[in-house]
């Protein structure tokens, strides 16, 4: 029985196929403007018996392929449980959402916090800020880590932060220092959510933003806790969905 999990996020789509708990295949694509078409491309030529969808686009997928769905909150919890069974606190920062999730001893979701409707504190915020400062997204975190001084960026709102960046640049500030301040601002928001769910040590950091080394370092500083990042943090949800597809099968 090959079970697939597909995580249709706002920025990217991840697909994981498992068989008897072993990962057979991992794929990723941009969500683009037609996520269903991208999802179909990703599935093309891939044999699987069952599929479970998660992520922002899960209901689109549910309608198109009559697949069952699960929220990314649960999928990340299950994926995290498989990768790091002892971790009880999870932070997932994706393209348009950020979530802090507390897990019970048995791995089920105990409580979660999620960002409000705007892009503040999400991957989208970092992406837009990287662009304003002329960095490729991958280079943004490493550049921020090279900052020689720190500039406080107070706006959490993407729109206001962008104009704040513009005025900082006009003042002649170093863009690395601004980058560092922007990372701190996203971390402040994340650590606020982690406080509300009473985060334990260590914290599993997943979602695409966990690939950013500056975010990992600053999060450790802000929380005083060990930050664990899976090898491919953006795959955590798809992995969780695949595992759940398998569990749903075995329950029948």
């Amino acid at each position: 029985m090959r079970c697939a999990g597909i995580d249709i996020g706002s920025r990217s789509i991840e697909l994981v196929v498992v068989e008897a708990g072993r990962v057979l295949e991992k794929r990723q694509a941009d969500s683009g403007f037609d996520p269903m078409a991208q999802a179909r491309d990703l599935l093309d030529g891939l044999p699987y018996d069952r599929i479970l969808a998660t992520g922002y686009g899960r209901h689109l997928f549910e309608l198109a392929l009559e697949a069952p769905t699960v929220t990314e909150i649960k999928a990340y919890a299950v994926g995290a449980g498989l990768l790091f069974p002892k971790v009880r606190t999870l932070l997932d920062i994706g393209g348009q959402d950020s979530k802090a999730i507390a897990l019970r001893e048995d791995g089920r979701v105990k409580k979660f916090e999620m960002n409000d409707r705007c892009a503040a504190g999400t991957g989208k915020f970092l992406e837009i800020m990287a662009h304003s400062l002329g960095y490729a997204l991958e280079a943004f975190g490493p550049a921020a880590l090279q900052a020689e001084k720190e500039i406080q960026v107070s706006s959490m709102c993407t729109v206001f932060a962008e104009s704040e960046v513009t005025s900082l640049l006009a003042r002649g500030e170093d863009r690395k220092a601004i980058a560092s301040g922007l990372h701190r601002s996203v971390v402040r928001r994340a650590s606020g959510m982690l406080k509300r769910i009473e985060a334990t040590d260590p914290i599993l950091f997943a979602g695409g933003v966990a690939l950013n080394p500056c975010m990992v370092r600053y999060l450790a500083e802000a929380t005083g806790k060990e930050i664990v990042v899976p090898e491919q943090p953006q795959m955590t949800g798809a992995l969780g969905a695949a595992i759940m597809a398998e569990e749903m099968h075995s329950k029948r």
């Binding site: 922002y56 209901h59 699960v70 929220t71 990314e72 909150i73 649960k74 959402d97 089920r108 979701v109 105990k110 409580k111 979660f112 999620m114 409000d116 409707r117």
Partner: protein, 425 residues
């Protein structure tokens, strides 16, 4: 809606084109949200009819009553004592506050970060689409939150007949005295408006009518304690909403009829959701027609709403008014005793509400509580923190939602609510 209503709406000064647009949106929302439900009790047909005629037949009835010399009083709050309104043979109706309308006009009058409920009241007035506010002989405002009391100062310029009732902020003896004085002032205002002098018999009659309406709701609430739930939360919310509009005697009778049907359903083990479906208690701000967004999201995520800790729900209907007094003074005291118990978040402190939320969660066997705070509603959003803490200390999972009437956050709300429902399973 038939042509004959058009002249009625026109005579009320409604903007017919805007009103048509409103009715179309309302009708569509009702179809998508209400008529799409499965296994609805047959008795809900009555409420479907009421909703389809909410700006039609009901308004005609009110205008007929007016023609016969009776008065119509509009209100925005459960603190306005309906017993007294009924006692002078007048009709109390809730005014429209459940949808965004004429937002640009409203934002000329009110700050943008005013809650959606207040903005909506202004939108319906400014957009000339609420036949209730246009039919009312008196509009009663009340000094609850800062948003409302300051906005009434502005509303006063828009309507010719605003009456503002002051309310205490604490449940101290001084607070109660203030409420008693205001209820008394309201009694005089109702007597002046109607030309009817209140006596024991009239007051008793008013109390009886309103108590009976509340008792019918209590019976409905009680039936929702069963698993499987015999009625959806959306339908029960609709009954709570129509409570504010409909003729009280007809309403009472119709709710009892639904209850009879629900009792048969319970006997047969029949429900609107499968037995064991996650049960959710809604707590927080009031939801006026057609604010069905969050309940719809919750129930389309597989959970059933089993109770409303809300003004449009048990906060508004929980307490009955004592009817044993044999003097006007005694009955007026009983009315004050009843209204002073309302556990609105404008009171400080407000520990009764924390107790009530927990009691309700237990009584309705709720698996979790969703706290609904209207964006910019300071009293309820601030209180959502201690509510969440009290519930979680009692091991009741809680989700705090802050939203407004717009649809832009539906995707994110759905993710949150679905994840919460997964958590309860």
């Amino acid at each position: 809606m038939s042509e004959s209503y058009r002249s009625m709406w026109e005579s009320l000064g409604l903007d017919l084109a805007a009103h048509d647009a409103l009715l179309e949106v309302l009708g569509k929302a009702y179809q998508d949200i209400y008529m799409a439900q499965e296994q609805r009790p047959e008795g809900m047909g009555y409420f479907d009819f009421v909703m389809s005629e909410v700006h039609g037949l009901r308004i005609k009835e009110l205008l007929d009553e007016k023609a016969a010399g009776k008065k119509v009083v509009g209100s925005f709050c459960v603190f306005v004592p309906e017993e007294i309104v009924r006692a002078v043979d007048a009709t109390l109706v809730g005014l429209c506050t459940g949808a965004d309308f004429a937002v640009e006009e409203v934002e000329k009058l009110l700050p943008r970060n005013t809650c959606a409920l207040i903005k909506s009241a202004f939108g319906f007035k400014a957009g000339k689409v609420c036949p209730y506010i246009e039919s009312a002989d008196m509009i009663v405002g009340e000094n609850t939150c800062d948003g409302k009391k300051k906005s009434y100062e502005i509303l006063d310029d828009l309507v010719p007949n605003l009456y503002v009732m002051d309310l205490p902020q604490t449940k101290s003896p001084e607070g109660r005295r203030l409420l008693a004085a205001e209820v008394d002032r309201f009694k005089t205002a109702m007597e002046d408006l109607s030309g009817v002098a209140l006596d024991v018999e009239r007051l008793k009659k008013g109390i009886e009518i309103v108590n009976n309406k509340r008792k019918a709701m209590h019976r409905l609430y009680d039936l929702r304690k069963h698993d499987p739930a015999p009625i959806s939360g959306l339908d029960a919310l609709l009954a709570n909403q129509v409570f504010f509009y409909d003729d009280p005697l007809r309403f009472t009778e119709s709710v009892h009829k639904i209850c009879d049907e629900l009792e048969r359903r319970i006997e047969q083990g029949q429900g609107v959701f499968p037995k064991g479906a996650p049960r959710v208690l809604l707590s927080g701000c009031p939801m006026a027609v057609p604010n069905w967004k969050l309940p719809w999201i919750i129930e389309s995520s597989g959970a059933v709403i089993v109770g409303e800790e809300s003004c449009v729900g048990e906060r508004g209907t929980r307490n009955l008014t004592g009817d044993s007094g044999d003097s006007v003074k005694g009955l007026m005291e009983a009315i004050v005793d009843r209204y002073v118990q309302i556990d609105c978040a404008i009171f400080t402190p407000n520990p009764e509400r924390l107790d009530h939320v927990q009691e309700m969660a237990r009584a309705y066997k709720a698996d979790g509580v969703i706290h609904y705070g209207l964006q910019f509603c300071q009293p309820y959003i601030t209180e959502s923190m201690p509510v969440e803490k009290a519930l979680e200390d009692a091991d009741i999972p809680t989700l705090r939602i802050e939203t407004d009437y717009s649809m832009e956050d539906v995707g994110q709300l759905k993710t949150r609510v679905e994840a919460f429902v997964e958590q309860l399973r």
